[in-house]
Symmetry: C2
Subunit: 95 residues, 2 copies
């Protein structure tokens, strides 16, 4: 089991994970509300999505609870931004 | 020193770090070129900046080379997006 020191290290990691992970939520909401993702970079979100799959693998191998929680949640939120961006690029069905 | 297994684990971590870190570069370039950051969320980049400071601290404590390299570089790139977004929000000097 984890020592008290390891516990506090994971508290820092989980706080970091919560901030960086949930940061994608206001971005997804902004695109949803404004119905525009013009200034949002598609390249960024494709790279971020691929990178977070690798971070998740890294977290599993080194046994970092913070990395696993952060990146599995972030993958869903980044995936949402990616879908909203792709929807914005797609031509309208009619008119 | 690291065992061969640890070496390959760090290769995955460094690949993950390169992708997620450098992903902010095309976003910064897009804002720069379009001269607009309207659809980019300020809340996202404030949370991301604060969170990456904590990830950097976490990486230092657990001794993860990948986390340290990723988050110190990302802090600079996320800081660039943040500055470009704040510049876009600032009222023009004249007219």
């Amino acid at each position: 089991m984890a020592s008290p020191g390891q516990f506090w290290v994971e508290v820092i990691g989980i706080a970091a994970a919560l901030l960086t992970t949930t940061s994608f939520l206001p971005q997804a909401l902004r695109i949803w509300r404004n119905r525009s993702a013009r200034d949002v970079s598609l390249t960024m979100y494709l790279m971020m999505f691929a990178g977070q799959i690798l971070w998740l693998a890294y977290g599993v191998v080194i046994g970092s609870v913070s990395l696993i929680l952060a990146n599995s949640t972030a993958l869903m939120l980044v995936g949402s931004v990616l879908l909203l961006k792709l929807r914005d690029r797609a031509p309208s069905a009619a008119l």
